[in-house]
């Protein structure tokens, strides 16, 4: 398929421009949970390494929750830019 033919063929199809939003919504739920898990996991790893439990586990959890909030904020910001 030649690239210069694509715009003309797809020119009438305005629907796809909105499609990625549902994919983002699907992704957001997973990333919220994963952010907390990553933060918590890293905290537990560092605690096991330095024998400082539960200091870094708590720090990791807070950072993970923070990352989840930042993720929501970024997705909302990007959606509003469209």
């Amino acid at each position: 398929m030649r690239q210069d033919e694509e715009p003309a063929r797809d020119g009438n199809d305005a629907q796809p421009a909105e499609s990625p939003n549902w994919a983002l919504g699907l992704d957001l739920g997973v990333r919220l949970g994963l952010s907390v898990v990553i933060g918590l996991g890293l905290g537990i790893l560092v605690d096991n390494w330095l024998h400082t439990s539960p200091l870094f586990t708590l720090i990791g959890m807070v950072l993970g929750i923070g990352a989840a909030m930042v993720t929501i904020w970024r997705v909302a910001r990007d959606a509003m830019r469209k």
């Binding site: 210069d4 694509e6 997973v30 994963l34």
Partner: protein, 283 residues
Amino acid sequence: MPEEEGESLIHVAIKAEELFQLGPLHVTNSMVGALLASVVLLAGAWWFARRNQLVPTRVQSLLELPIELMAGIISASTSRWRSYAALILGFFLIILVANWIGLLPGVGTIGIAHVDETGHEAVIPLVRPASADLNFTLGLAIVSFVMFVFWGIRANGAGGYLKELLGQPLYMAPLMFPINLISEFSRLISLSMRLFGNVFAGEVLLATMIALVPILVPAAFLGLELIFGFVQALVFALLAMTYISTAIAEHHSAGHDSDHDTDHGAAHAAGADHPPAAEAASA
């Protein structure tokens, strides 16, 4: 005895199983699946390059269908869609073919019989769908992640990207840097785990259904897996595209639009740089 037969049918290993060793390379059944998917795609591309007609035949129309669907979505994303269209289409097609290969008769059922550690007789399938192996999905996610970072750096410059990671104001960097880092890495893990989880769960579901009710019922689940395979390929490609287009959009909203206009002035004038959907809307 029927219980033992059932156990061997439900056997689906979470990691890809080794078939043979080729020097230092451990060849697994998911590698065979990935290789098969690549061969199918290359054969399709070769056929397409030779038999491509202006007025498409039925087969050509069928092959163009998923490509046109993705091309429509990609071309409506940003004005620089041509730069990453091939990558996103590549993601979509390889995942789609890899997922659907798992539904072919013989895949997952024909293999090498062996006795496992527990003393049960099991079959190592010769072919396993590549996306049911975390190595494959993680590999794709890493490529997507590198491209996203590359576009972020290309659009904002290395300093701009680092500033985005450090957060603003700068004195908040010790707190915001690890938070942003976790947020960035969650994309990588989310992309790879979702695809792997869905396809692997599909494999387990099919194996269980075949073991429980071998006649008719698995056909319904095969149909469902056909849809899930398509949806998962679409979701992966859409997310990779959204991440890249977001990196580019950040650049645009940061007030560099004038640079962009001069860079792409000629293409703009030719109408090739505009998302077709936007053109249609303005018309």
